[in-house]
């Protein structure tokens, strides 16, 4: 699986052709996050889930700051304004993520991206009891540095990205991949 991903990215890097220049721009959009993709189960047969833990992301801000021809820095931020709420309202989960990848433009409006990021996974609870067990109370955050790799395409004012976010990449047991799909609209800039 890892080899396949590497080959996929190498292949995409070599599909080069002339393309329009991207100015510095700011995009806003939304997406879908599959957290711990393939590592957690959500099915009764305990098979590895295809999407992992799923999060809806009402907000995704993406900036493109042009550095030189075909190369941009693209800081992006996502946050789940509406948290995942437990059915019994005992607690909720929110996520925010900041990534700063370098973007390389190639082909016809395609881009490959790679960089570092910071993941915050916060669990909030209202306390109380469920039978003889306690329920979580207060707010606890786990924070991970990440490596992200992705591809995207921009057409005019619209942009779509698919990113793989690697958590704990150098820990054999903890290593996990999250999949983030986003669609964004250029408020400022975009391809001319």
């Amino acid at each position: 699986m890892r080899s396949l991903i590497v080959i996929l990215f190498l292949g995409l890097f070599f599909i080069l052709s002339a393309q329009a220049e991207r100015p510095t721009s700011l995009l806003v959009g939304s997406g879908f996050l599959g957290y711990n993709f393939g590592k957690v189960t959500t099915s009764t047969d305990r098979s590895a889930g295809v999407t992992g833990e799923t999060f809806a992301l009402p907000l995704h801000l993406v900036g493109f700051v042009k550095v030189r021809d075909r190369i941009s820095i693209s800081p992006h931020f996502l946050y789940t304004f509406l948290p995942n709420v437990s059915a019994d309202n005992a607690g909720n989960t929110t996520v925010w993520y900041v990534g700063v990848p370098v973007v390389y433009e190639f082909g016809k409006n395609w881009e490959a991206r790679g960089g570092l990021g910071y993941f915050d996974y916060t669990l909030n609870g209202n306390g109380g009891l469920k039978g003889s067990f306690g329920l979580p109370s207060g707010s606890i955050s786990a924070r991970n540095y990440t490596i992200e790799l992705g591809i995207g395409q921009t057409k005019g004012l619209l942009n779509g990205n698919l990113d793989l976010i690697f958590t704990a990449p150098f820990d054999n047991y903890r290593r996990a991949v999250s999949l983030f799909l986003s669609f964004n609209y250029a408020l400022v800039g975009g391809y001319e």
Partner: protein
């Protein structure tokens, strides 16, 4: 135009939030998990028959060590000669896994049903920190839960669950969770509930130690110090300012040309 519609359809779809799972905690009063990492897990294979307790402990340790957002770090200790009665005597050196020939009458672990395979317990210190625990495995050859009589994957699942209990995790309502009360055969894999309870009691903070998963064994706890909204309020104006500045510069350049 179709891309515009697609983008905003996606945005509206995203407004629907997914359910978080309902995990629980072993103690009903506020408490803190084990504080010293790594947590050593000793074991005694006496009275276990042919059940491969050692292999099951390895699987359980690897499972709980695999939560990316948790600082939990378990390590396998040594073979010890402790017996179940040592729990009450306070003579266990580490969290210890033992087989009990009188499993269903062991009051220290709540006299479990003889159809169950393993059970975990832990104690709180005066400051409400877990500092003592054990996992008792069913060694009653005449019982349906006898460790030797169940499959290897069932035993791994039961010990992973019992170890979770000793770490402070409560039961889950999800039938596919490790912390579901009823073990079963099958793939030993984490569920969202398991990830969340391990994260809640043992949150990982790579801002303090162990970037990218390197050698972080400390346990950090406490509420988030930086509300996400604060970061957003900082980032949004910054990105707008930078973007507008470059946009104006770009326009001036194109106008001149």
């Amino acid at each position: 135009m179709k891309y515009f519609v697609l983008t905003f359809s996606m945005a509206f779809l995203s407004l629907a939030s997914f359910d978080a799972k309902a995990y629980t905690l072993y103690f009903s009063t506020p408490f803190v998990g084990w504080q010293t990492m790594p947590i050593t897990v000793d074991y005694n294979t006496s009275n276990c028959g042919k059940a491969d307790i050692s292999d099951a402990i390895d699987s359980a340790i690897n499972l709980w060590n695999s939560v990316p957002t948790s600082s939990l770090k378990l390590q396998k200790g040594s073979v010890v000669s402790n017996v179940p009665a040592d729990y009450n005597l306070g003579t266990l050196k580490h969290l210890t896994v033992m087989c009990d020939l009188a499993y269903s009458s062991n009051a220290d672990v709540g006299s479990p049903l003889d159809s169950t395979v393993a059970v975990g317990v832990s104690k709180l210190s005066a400051t409400s920190v877990i500092n003592y625990g054990e996992v008792i495995v069913n060694g009653m050859s005449a019982s349906t839960g006898y460790a030797q009589a169940v499959t290897g994957s069932f035993l791994q699942y039961a010990i992973a669950h019992a170890l979770g209990t000793a770490l402070g995790f409560g039961n889950s309502e999800k039938s596919y969770a490790v912390m579901y009360y009823l073990p079963s055969d099958g793939n030993l894999i984490l569920s969202e509930d398991d990830v969340q309870v391990a994260t809640y009691l043992y949150p990982r903070d790579e801002g303090q130690a162990g970037m990218f998963g390197c050698g972080s064994i400390s346990s950090a706890s406490g509420p988030s110090s930086l509300p996400p909204q604060a970061l957003l309020l900082f980032l949004l104006p910054l990105m707008l300012t930078v973007a507008l500045k470059y946009r104006l510069k770009y326009r001036r350049l194109t106008t001149r040309l």
